[in-house]
């Protein structure tokens, strides 16, 4: 069984219905650890050792966050900057994370049609997530197809419930997948 770590980042959860609902949808799944970054580090002073320890004890990590200006909220960047240390995550001897899976789970503000060459956001969501994909690749992660909920803030209750079910199923499948052999 794959142990899944969900790194959840929303700076103002009281303003987000979709992300709160999504994270609640996977919280109780066996094998899933939900780790709320803004709640744990309100001052953004990330405990590097504790984070690395969490990473090592899981086989897949999921970044769940809203898309802010085509990227993640600030704490995710901070987390990448300080936790993925040279010698731990990459570089000489940096093989602690090799072979683990990386899933980006994002909510977007625009409708699906707005993301693409013809839309006003110009790029598809997977295209916009390339910095994360490159980061994952350098650290030896397996990059999984991103999970995207479009126009999250416009969803009605039924629509949100459907997305929550889809997300839960995706994470549930991930936990049941065999742990990939470290490469």
């Amino acid at each position: 069984m794959t142990r899944v770590l969900v790194l959840y980042a929303h700076p103002a959860p009281h303003r987000s219905l979709a992300n709160a609902a999504l994270i609640d949808a996977v919280r109780d799944l066996p094998g899933v650890t939900v780790h709320d970054l803004y709640e744990t580090y309100p001052d953004l002073l990330i405990d590097i050792e504790a984070e690395q320890d969490l990473l090592v004890r899981h086989d897949a990590i999921v970044f769940q966050h809203p898309l802010f200006w085509y990227s993640a909220p600030a704490i995710v960047k901070e987390w990448l900057d300080v936790v993925l240390e040279h010698g731990f995550a990459y570089g000489q001897g940096g093989v602690a994370l090799a072979g683990k899976a990386w899933l980006q789970s994002v909510t977007s503000g625009g409708v699906a049609a707005a993301y693409g060459p013809a839309g006003r956001n110009r790029f598809t969501v997977p295209e916009l997530l390339r910095p994360f994909e490159a980061t994952a690749a350098l650290c030896g992660f397996r990059w999984l197809d991103p999970f995207v909920v479009h126009a999250a803030h416009l969803l009605d209750a039924d629509g949100l419930a459907a997305e929550c079910a889809r997300y839960r199923a995706r994470i549930d499948t991930l936990t049941k997948a065999p742990v990939a052999a470290a490469t």
């Binding site: 700076p11 103002a12 303003r15 803004y38 709640e39 309100p42 503000g109 126009a151 803030h153």
Partner: protein
């Protein structure tokens, strides 16, 4: 003129110093030469304003004693131990080579070999007082060449002991009754010869033991009484007592004072003692230099000017060349070696003592002795010139300017001076020390200092509102002064003094409350932190979290509130002093709180204090757009 009036004498000395020293300083000659000239002018060969320069000399020599005591206090035993190579190696080589060379010259002049040996070694000594004062004035006292020069001087002071012990063995001249020395060892003269070494060891052991066991509790007791003048009296009594004790066993009082200083070097009262007796050192040293100047026998010089001047120049040349060569061999750079060599070229004040002693012991004739004294005094007077020559030659011979090696940072150059090491200052200090910065701490509570020192903090006892103590704690070299004293008025006073006297210094102050913060800001401190504010904000943040706010939201609410309040603080501090406009508007503490809450309301209106990530307008716009699309369809 009535020479007997001590007050008149004091006035003559002080006035001479006041007139001549600033002039000498302005001419770039240093205060030492200023004092010497003043002495010559008012002395028996000048205006004849002095009674007996010799009697003044006895008092003035105490200035040298105090200076050695203060130097001892600057030198922790560990530092002294690190300098042992320079003291024994460089110092020993200097005394031995200069003593033998000068002795050989004296012998070549036709003196008896025993007298020649004595004269050689007497002249090998340099003037601790003049050299250290000059080095200090030039800011070189803690520099590598300054330390080397000091090491040599220290060895010379120690070398006086065996000289006093061995010179009597060289006696061959019939002692006349008139040649009563001023400084012969008293008391023990009649005792068998083996008693003296025992007494010396005993006296030094006594100084060390009582310094460790007796003096510190005594200082602590006096410090608790809070009587500053008694503290000063105690410090002076200590130095005088040690000097008397040392003299009674035939040791140099200066050396004894030095030992006592070293014993107290790591004492928490070091800074306070230093600041208390420093003015005595300065004045008495000045007096000493004046009496040296007055003691120059111009009659003798005028009788045979060629001889005296020639001998003085010869003495300076021989010693300068020897010492410079030795320093070069010890690996010093050319400019440093020149500074050490030329700086130490003059004869020393111990020469006066030893010359008198040698006459009494029948080693040299009285006439030779007085020639010796004149030559030494003249060489002392020429010391400032020697330093100038060393500078000029040094600049010629200086290698291409290399990055200056500042050496290990001594505790005397702290990054931060913390005034007040109570519950507030401690946090500041621990944070700074944990990040590798050197701190120097001043605290008024003897108990507190004792406790903190037992934990290894560099803490000194003293009242930080005193400029001299701040200076002694190292503010002149520090970048920051943290004012964290318990007493609100004191804190304001310290901030005011520090900003006025040390403009380079950043002053960060702990305020008790808003009003105190306003007062400190009016003194132009560079930063102020109310001691309870941050804690209050943090507790408020914790309360918000317990009320169910997400942690990051609560954190931001706290930071936002802090920023709002700090802006208010700075804004209102500007008006704090304006007449009574501010004060009358808000009467008392309660009024201030009401006023603040009014202002809070103006800023924090609506449902949320934090507009970040508010997407409501975006959502509304998107919904409108969608509805418009659906309607169109």
């Amino acid at each position: 003129m009535d020479h007997a009036s001590p007050l008149l004498q004091a006035f003559v000395y002080l006035a001479a110093a006041v007139v001549s020293v600033p002039i000498a300083k302005r001419l770039g000659l240093g205060s030492v030469l200023g004092y010497l000239i003043a002495g010559a002018v008012i002395g028996p060969f000048g205006l004849k304003l002095l009674g007996e320069p010799e009697s003044v000399m006895h008092v003035a020599e105490f200035g040298v004693v105090i200076m050695l005591f203060l130097i001892g206090m600057e030198l922790q035993p560990s530092l002294l131990w690190r300098m042992r190579g320079a003291i024994v190696g460089l110092g020993g080589a200097q005394v031995l080579s200069a003593g033998l060379a000068l002795g050989a010259i004296a012998w070549a002049f036709g003196l008896d070999w025993r007298a020649a040996v004595a004269i050689g070694f007497i002249l090998s000594l340099s003037s601790t007082a003049i050299v250290l004062q000059t080095l200090r004035e030039r800011g070189l006292d803690a520099s590598p060449p300054g330390r080397s020069a000091f090491a040599v001087l220290l060895f010379q002071d120690i070398a006086v002991i065996p000289m006093l012990a061995l010179f009597p063995l060289l006696g061959h001249v019939a002692v006349t009754a008139a040649a009563g020395p001023a400084h012969a060892p008293e008391g023990l003269a009649a005792a068998p010869s083996w008693v003296q070494p025992l007494a010396v060891v005993g006296a030094v052991a006594l100084v060390i033991a009582s310094g460790r066991l007796l003096v510190r509790p005594l200082f602590r007791f006096i410090a608790k009484s809070g009587q500053r003048e008694i503290f000063t009296a105690m410090a002076l009594a200590l130095v005088v007592g040690v000097a008397v004790l040392m003299q009674s066993v035939g040791l140099s009082p200066a050396l004894g004072a030095f030992v006592a200083g070293v014993v107290l070097a790591d004492s928490e009262f070091r800074r306070e003692i230093e600041a208390d007796i420093e003015p005595f050192r300065g004045l008495l040293l000045g007096l000493f230099f004046i009496s040296v100047g007055a003691g120059i026998d111009f009659a003798l010089i005028l009788a045979s000017p060629g001889l005296v001047i020639g001998l003085a120049l010869g003495l300076l040349a021989v010693k300068a060349v020897l010492m410079t060569a030795l320093a070069r061999m010890a690996g010093r750079s050319n400019p440093d070696a020149l500074l050490i060599g030329f700086g130490l070229a003059q004869g020393g004040e111990f020469a006066f003592v030893l010359a008198a002693f040698s006459v009494q012991a029948g080693v040299i004739a009285p006439a030779t002795s007085s020639l010796l004294v004149s030559v030494v005094a003249l060489s002392m007077a020429l010391t400032p010139l020697m330093f100038l020559i060393a500078d000029v030659l040094g600049r010629r011979l200086a290698p291409a300017p290399a990055p200056r090696d500042m050496g290990p940072i001594e505790a005397d150059a702290p990054d931060v001076v913390i005034a007040g090491f109570g519950r507030f200052g401690q946090v500041v200090g621990r944070l700074l020390i944990a990040n590798g910065y050197e701190t120097s701490v001043l605290d008024i509570s003897a108990d507190q200092v004792e406790t903190l020192r037992s934990f290894g903090h560099k803490t000194n006892y003293g009242d930080a509102s005193r400029i001299d103590l701040l200076r002694a704690a190292g503010v002149e070299k520090a970048k920051i002064l943290v004012v964290a004293v318990d007493d609100q008025e004191k804190a304001i006073e310290i901030a005011e003094h520090a900003k006025r006297h040390f403009p380079h210094l950043k002053v960060l102050a702990r305020a008790f409350d808003r009003g105190h913060a306003y007062e400190l800001l009016r003194r132009n401190v560079d930063g102020v932190e109310r001691e309870t504010f941050e804690g209050g904000v943090r507790l408020g943040v914790a309360a918000l979290e317990h009320l169910g706010l997400p942690a990051h939201h609560a954190h931001r609410a706290g930071r936002l509130f802090r920023r709002h309040d700090e802006r208010l603080l700075l804004e209102m501090a500007k008006h704090w002093g304006d007449e009574d406009a501010y004060r009358s508007a808000i009467v008392g503490r309660q009024g201030m709180v009401a006023d603040l809450m009014q202002r809070d309301l103006k800023v924090f209106t609506g449902e949320s204090v934090d507009p970040a990530w508010d997407t409501s307008s975006l959502d509304a716009e998107a919904r409108e757009a969608r509805e418009a699309r659906e309607t169109a369809r």
